[in-house]
């Protein structure tokens, strides 16, 4: 699903990327920006959190003429100008900016590098209203925004998720703050949980393991949570064979398919024993029942009738 959203195969007007303190959503945001440019969109980049030059440099573009940068990073609330705070009014006029700078084509896309400062400055409801308007602007084909869930209360995230067509939530498969000395922490992957609402109302949920390749492209493959760790409530580690330790072994730990088949044919001694027991029980039920008693050496026989006091 993630790759379809990235390539534009799946239409989504408002894409929300949610990350937290352990995951870095800006890489995915850049992947969306790169993909939108490749598709020939006029990209409006609203930088609140990273320096615009830094963001554009990381896009690795040969030609950035399609990128229109709006710098809200350098002075978001007017401290550098010295003319007081200009909260709200100046900060979130994305809609009007897009309309003003629109050259006439309908392939405009908006990328917002983090809503955090905006959400701290303005009411989340008004931000949602603005975003909703933007998503219904016929000139804008897609809006992609980054949201740091750990910096805001849950209600804000819920509101934003509600108005978004696609919500991409990044999680680590293993929690980083738990400091472990095991090698498994090295193999940690990042999971992207995608909730996508199609135009016809169908909702798709997918969990994919995301990798950023060396050429900054994104690779996603389906991922399922380990049922054992799901039961215990812990975050699952995606069990990968520990290549480093196996490489050092002088013997083979794994079995081939043929070896596994042969193993399954082998009758273990305890299985045989239980089968014999079954036969004995069957015989005894068919024969009517007899008791044989073999006295031990130490048994002493008593000639007296043990039931003589019962007066039969």
């Amino acid at each position: 699903m993630l790759e379809k959203l990235l390539s534009g195969e799946e239409t989504s007007r408002l894409v929300l990327i949610c990350d937290d303190q352990f995951t870095n959503g800006s890489t995915l945001l850049r992947a969306f920006a790169r993909s939108l440019i490749k598709r020939g969109c006029q990209l409006h980049l609203f930088c609140f959190e990273q320096h615009p030059t830094n963001f554009v440099n990381h896009l690795n573009l040969h030609n950035d003429s399609n990128v229109h940068v709006h710098d809200f990073y350098s002075d978001p609330i007017g401290w550098n100008d010295g003319d007081g705070c200009l909260l709200g009014s100046r900060l979130f006029d994305i809609n009007s900016k897009v309309n003003q700078e629109q050259a006439g084509g309908s392939n405009t896309a908006v990328v917002i590098d983090s809503l955090s400062i905006t959400l701290q400055t303005c009411e989340s409801t008004s931000v949602c209203q603005q975003l909703h308007k933007l998503s219904h602007n016929q000139r804008v084909i897609q809006t992609v925004m980054l949201h740091h869930t750990h910096l805001h209360v849950d209600d804000v995230t819920k509101r934003l998720s509600h108005i978004s067509d696609s919500v991409l939530k990044l999680n680590l498969t293993s929690s980083l703050p738990k400091i472990t000395f095991s090698k498994k922490s090295v193999h940690d992957g990042t999971i992207c949980v995608t909730v996508h609402r199609k135009l016809n109302g169908k909702v798709f949920l997918s969990e994919e393991k995301v990798e950023i390749l060396s050429d900054s492209s994104v690779e996603a493959c389906p991922w399922q949570q380990d049922p054992l760790s799901a039961q215990t409530g812990g975050i699952s580690l995606n069990e990968e064979p520990d290549v480093t330790s196996e490489a050092n072994l002088t013997f083979n730990l794994n079995l081939s398919v043929r070896e596994k088949k042969e193993r399954s044919k082998l009758v273990m001694p305890y299985i045989k024993a239980s089968e014999e027991e079954k036969v004995e029980i069957h015989r005894s039920t068919g024969g009517g029942g007899k008791i044989f008693y073999e006295p031990d050496d130490v048994d002493d026989f008593d000639d007296e009738d043990p039931d003589e006091d019962l007066e039969f």
Binding site: T23, Y73, D75, I77, N80, I179, V186, T190
Partner: protein, 260 residues
Amino acid sequence: MFEELNNIAGWSLKNLPTNKMILISDWNTDASFLLHHFLAFYLKANSKVVLAHAAQSFIHYNLACSRLGVNLERSRNNGDLIALNLLDASLQQYVEGSCENLSLDSEYCLNFLFGDNSLKHLFKVFKRCVENTKDALIILDDVTLFLGLGVSQKDLNYFVHYMDVLCKSNNCTFVTLFHQNFAPDISEPSPYLCCQLYASYEIEVKGLESGYSKDVHGVLTLKSKETKGIKTYQPHKLMHYRLTDRSLQLLAPGTSSAVL
């Protein structure tokens, strides 16, 4: 300065961390010894240093740094060090209700005590101090203190953002200390998370869970932020540390003399 820490982080006198915010955080212990390290480190590298001290006096820092081979008094007289005495400024402003009698260095940066409620002025003082300089270091010795003095979490977040802007535009480094135990409002996300967001490096110092030990004073974790990957931090470098007056000994966990 602590050579072992520099070696692990890949820093040296010729390769200073610039353009970055370095967050020092502590939990159940005091990590201010790392502030002394950065003070001595940058002054030895002949960089300009701005020290805004709100938690300790200048004498304290002078004494601590003299053990690391740097004389702060002399550096201040040479102009290499600018010391902003926020400790006295806050008291004077609080008692007298004004800050007219204060020296230039502390100015009106603590206006938040009287209704302005933002750290804008402090940011402007920092900005003025590092203008026309390169590779400067700004140290704010305790950022959590402001939360106790009435600055809102939102304003602290703005301040951290603007310090990040200042670092990027003036090629300087901002080092600050955050006490993780300090939680002013549990209903809102901690401002520590916002500091983490902007920090390129985080040095987290914790006391030992097993209690006080003579040979191991705590656990130090160095986290450096990843810019290309999808995870925020690269695998942590976790070490036990032992602090003496002049040095910081870093040990792989389980290799201290008390264990071996």
